[in-house]
Amino acid sequence: MLENTGILEVAVDHPRLDAAAAPAFRQELDGLFDHRPERVVLDLSHVDFIDSTGLGVLVSMLKQMGAKGRIAIVGASPAVRRLLEITRLDTLFIQCDSTSAAHDPLA
């Protein structure tokens, strides 16, 4: 996980963001969100699977960022994209092909 100018870039390295992994993931993000970033790029290219609990962590994170908070997801696998569509959260998170492409919509 690394930070760039103005936008927090987070590379998630849990291949499965499921209910078993969610508490540790939540804890990792809490540490990164201490200074309340308003714009975040989440790189999910190493994530093969997310369930509703893992997704709940992302939703909580966005809520924690406040009204101006925006999260862009990059590298989502077909399974992750499908989950976002099913839950209609594809309208809550910005989806981009790459980290660099995510900077414009977040600006």
């Binding site: 209910a19 078993a20 699977f49 369930d51 509703s52 939703v59 966005l62 077909p78 499908r82 959260l89």
Partner: protein, 139 residues
């Protein structure tokens, strides 16, 4: 893990969240061996994980000694998953209703996800055993 020549493939694991991924891996393996396409496998995996999470988190809350058993049968153009456990019953009508979940809600999407991924969901409890049957058509 067991598999009779014509019967369903079956696996039992402790009813804990950390074990759910073993069910998912097993389901994947059985489906891949039978040539099920990746999109259908992903849907089945997601539905199974949501159902098994529910068993571990709610059905067996505070009772880690329980187990859950997955039977998978593939044929006639469908994947049939049966999840059995002896935990607390699922609230009546749980799999029939699809509540409205706020976009900002961190929880409460499991049942809706199962309904979106699976064609037929059937739940019954008999003799203290919960049976959740999820059938996915492969057309």
């Amino acid at each position: 893990m067991t598999r009779s020549p014509d019967g369903p493939a079956e696996i039992s694991v402790p009813a804990r969240l950390i074990e759910v991924r073993r069910l998912a891996e097993y389901l994947r393996k059985v489906c891949q061996t039978s040539g099920v396409d990746e999109v259908a496998i992903s849907d089945c995996e997601l539905a199974l994980v949501e159902a098994a999470n529910n068993v571990a988190e709610h059905g067996h809350a505070g009772r880690p000694e329980g187990k859950m058993t997955l039977s998978v049968q593939i044929g006639d153009g469908m994947v049939r998953m049966e999840l059995r456990d002896r935990g607390d019953p699922v609230p009546e009508g749980q799999f029939l209703r699809r509540g409205i979940v706020s976009r900002e809600a961190p929880r409460g999407r499991g049942t809706g996800i199962i309904q979106a991924c699976i064609d037929v969901v059937d739940y019954a409890r008999k003799d203290g055993i919960n049976r959740l049957i999820m059938t996915k058509r492969l057309d």
